[in-house]
């Protein structure tokens, strides 16, 4: 390694060698499937649609993986104001052009190679004209812009996520609009060609600013009204638990409400444009209601961390690890802060959506749906259904924030990446299995009949895992007998309450009671929450 370019390339290869081997294995597997398919086509019953699932899912998964690798964003805090470019690299004796250029070049070449490999090995439905070059340039452009936006320092926390979503979606929209208008390959290439150089210029500026430690600051409240931001810490904390809750809230609690507050007005402003189109109004409202859960996916990565340092990994810092509190208290503080964060985000949504509907005079389609539900179910059931949906959305937002703690708080990077990889594999094979089932009426009927059995099997698995987690927690002194009994009773109560509500609003002729009970048992979380203190104990006392 005699040049910076070779050293940077070596670091990417060495650090992500297992992931890259996995990626290569995926491509080879797809190639193997294609060979099997080509030699036994007559004996396979899969439809074109099912075969198509062999392309988008693995392509999206590998694309996202390369995106995370080449932006250095695999373990960083996306919501942080600071640049996510690794600080240690900023001090290397190489030019800013090299620091921005080489990772971008390697990333773009990798993306292009990924497309060409997928184009060769994946099975495309007959009759589909697969484009040659422009998807490679499209993937490279998306990567280059993601790099530029990830490395850029921002004046507000969370702004990176908002700007990235807006810009990357805009690129997607332009490309798909061009495709809709049957643009030719050469047109697509011309359209996409300027994006990479522009991204490079932006990335150069971003790395340059990061090198100077230049982080713009628009936090007006903190600057002009310090009393507002200081008030919570001015009072003495009543207990260690309160202090830890404050710590967690200050560390990441404001990220979700802030993101929702930034993105929601943009979405709701569309009501003024489309108030006459009932379908679009409904879509905007649905999207607004799903926004907190969606944004929570991005914030969840920071919830598990004990430091707000953008490049910090998942270990617990000595500062937090030496707090004289029980392991479970560290988790409980995170749960509570996540709950506060969820409620704050939902407060914004529950106020902003009705105000926007009334102000834009677009409420009629929503009121019509409400009247229809009211007529169909009756007033009490309709109200309960509405509240249940709201509770479900709020619960789902909180769950998004905390459900990964049991993995991320174990501090094992390989576990975090492993679970992502396993999920992608499951999704891929799940889609394949679904396509295969839906191809045959017999298999579809069989699958529908076996859903309750499958659910029952998952419930049994959940209960067995729950018992195992509780046993291990008790053996390690993480839970007392009283806490175990209380936890189990609380879960039972939640399951029965949910079952009762579902039984009240859903007719038995459509949904059998045992089915509703199974749904309630699966939906109310237990194992992942109970496993989080175990993960902390492992991380804190390695």
């Amino acid at each position: 390694m005699r040049t910076p370019a070779a050293a940077i390339a070596w670091e990417f290869r060495q650090r992500h060698r297992w992931g890259l081997i996995g990626l290569l294995a995926t491509i080879l597997t797809l190639g193997g499937i294609k060979i099997v398919f080509l030699t036994n086509q007559a004996h396979l019953e899969m439809s074109d649609a099912t075969f198509a699932l062999l392309v988008p899912v693995p392509l999206a998964a590998t694309f996202l993986y390369l995106l995370a690798v080449f932006t250095f964003g695999i373990s960083g805090d996306l919501a942080a104001r600071e640049s996510m470019y690794p600080p240690r690299m900023l001090t290397l004796p190489v030019s800013t052009a090299a620091l921005a250029g080489w990772p971008m070049l390697y990333g773009c070449v990798s993306m292009a190679l990924l497309w060409f490999a997928m184009r060769i090995v994946a099975i495309f439905p007959p009759g589909v004209e697969v484009p040659r070059y422009w998807p490679a340039l499209f993937a490279a452009s998306l990567l280059a812009w993601t790099q530029a936006l990830t490395w850029m320092p921002y004046p507000l926390r969370g702004m990176r996520i908002v700007i990235s979503i807006v810009l990357l979606v805009s690129i997607d929209v332009v490309v798909f609009t061009a495709l809709e208008s049957k643009a030719r390959e050469s047109t697509m290439l011309l359209l996409l060609a300027p994006l990479v150089p522009l991204a490079y210029v932006t990335a150069f500026s971003a790395v340059n600013r990061a090198r100077r430690g230049d982080v713009p600051d628009w936090r007006v409240a903190e600057r002009f009204a310090p009393a507002l931001t200081r008030s919570a810490a001015r009072r003495d904390f009543r207990s260690a638990a309160r202090a830890q809750l404050w710590f967690e809230w200050r560390q990441y609690g404001r990220s979700l409400p802030l993101l929702v507050a930034i993105v929601l007005p943009v979405g709701l402003s569309l009501l003024f444009l489309f108030r006459e189109a009932a379908v679009i109004v409904v879509e905007i409202v649905v999207a607004s209601l799903l926004l907190p859960s969606f944004m929570a996916i991005f914030v969840a990565a920071t919830v598990a961390k004990s430091s707000s340092n953008a490049s910090e990994s998942y270990g617990i810092t000595p500062f937090v690890a030496t707090r004289p509190v029980e392991d479970r208290a560290l988790v409980v503080a995170k749960w509570q802060a996540a709950l506060l964060s969820t409620l704050a985000a939902w407060m914004i949504v529950t106020v902003a959506v009705p105000v926007a509907l009334l102000w834009s005079d677009a409420a009629e389609p929503i009121l019509k749906i409400a009247r229809n539900v009211d007529d169909a179910l009756g007033r009490p059931r309709a109200i309960i259904l509405g509240l249940l949906i709201l509770a479900g959305l709020v619960g789902s937002t909180w769950k998004q924030l905390v459900q990964g703690l049991y993995i991320a708080m174990s501090g094992r990077d390989w576990a975090v990446k492993g679970i992502v990889f396993a999920t992608l594999v499951l999704v891929t094979f799940g889609f394949l299995a679904l396509g295969w089932i839906l191809d045959s009426r017999y298999r579809t009927a069989l699958a529908l009949n076996s859903i309750p059995w499958l659910m029952a099997a998952f419930v049994v698995l959940k209960l067995v895992l729950a018992m195992r987690v509780m046993q291990r927690g008790a053996a390690r002194g993480l839970f007392t007998r009283k806490q175990l009994i209380f936890g189990a009773l609380a879960w039972d109560a939640c399951v029965l309450a949910l079952y009762g509500v579902l039984a009240l609003i859903l007719p038995e002729i459509l949904f059998r009671r045992y089915f509703l009970l199974l749904v309630a048992m699966l939906v109310v979380p237990f194992v992942r929450l109970a496993a989080a203190p175990l993960a902390v104990a492992r991380n804190r006392h390695r």
Binding site: P226, R230, A233, R234, D236, F237, R238, S239, A240, R242, A243, W246, F247, R250, Q251, S307, S308, N309, T317, P318, F319, A321, T322, R323, P324, V325, E326, D327, G477, R540, H541, R542
Partner: protein
């Protein structure tokens, strides 16, 4: 805990990271009162030993007892009596100094507001300053304030010299450590600045490649080497490593 029971009792402790043994059958007892210097070259195992004392590492072989308790099984019982200054500057950068003090106060019933204020003034820390805007040395001072303000029974300092400037080290740290020892409390600090250890420690433990090679009162160690400086003894016993 009986009065004559050691504050720290490490017995036959072995720790491996992969195939490499970082600590090898370490046995160490630190009685109540006094300043104990833990010296050794980089990578000798000082921080690993300290992390076991704090319960941040679980004893794979052997046992660790602090105040007669297992620091892993009883983190609250042990950590509430220990003041710790980490080698890493890992204080939350987003906190202000006054916030850091209020936050830390909640964990220690014995927190002494007057003493904390006195320490903050002595270390010249602006209460409104954000931790991340402080220099490395100022961050170490802030860490020291919150480690001392509740008058812990055991103060553990991991390489404090790496963050503190010479004036604080010589004039303030030395005086503080002496006061703590005079009050019958215990200080364990690791350092590679042997001159500093010589100035403040009553007892010295030298660790080399995970093994304790010397552990005795400083005077005894020096007498055994004809009154030579700790620096010279270190080079002789550790082979310059």
């Amino acid at each position: 805990m009986a009065a004559d029971e050691p504050v720290i009792a490490v017995s036959d402790l072995t720790r491996r990271f992969g195939a490499r043994a970082v600590l090898s059958s370490v046995t160490l007892e630190i009685p109540r009162g006094g300043v104990y210097g833990l010296v050794g070259a980089n990578g000798a195992g000082k921080t690993t030993l300290i992390r076991h004392v704090l319960g941040l590492l679980r004893a794979e072989e052997g046992s660790v007892r602090v105040f007669g308790r297992d620091p892993v099984a009883d983190p609250v019982g042990v950590l509430s009596r220990i003041g710790y200054l980490s080698e890493e500057n890992d204080l939350p950068g987003w906190m202000r100094v006054d916030e850091l003090m209020r936050y830390s106060r909640a964990f220690y019933p014995g927190w002494d507001d007057a003493y904390a204020g006195e320490l903050r003034a002595m270390f010249a820390l602006d209460p409104a300053a954000k931790i991340k805007t402080l220099s490395k040395g100022q961050q170490a001072r802030a860490g020291l304030v919150i480690a001392l303000a509740y008058r812990p029974e055991l103060l553990v300092l991991d390489e404090p010299s790496s963050g503190l400037d010479p004036i604080v080290r010589r004039d303030i740290l030395g005086a503080v450590l002496r006061t703590i020892a005079d009050e019958g409390r215990t200080v364990l600090f690791s350092s590679h600045l042997l001159e500093e250890v010589e100035q403040v420690a009553d007892h010295v433990t030298m660790i080399r490649q995970g093994k304790i090679v010397v552990s005795a009162p400083l005077k005894e160690v020096k007498d055994a080497h004809g009154g030579a400086s700790l620096d010279a003894i270190f080079v002789e016993r550790m082979g310059g490593v």
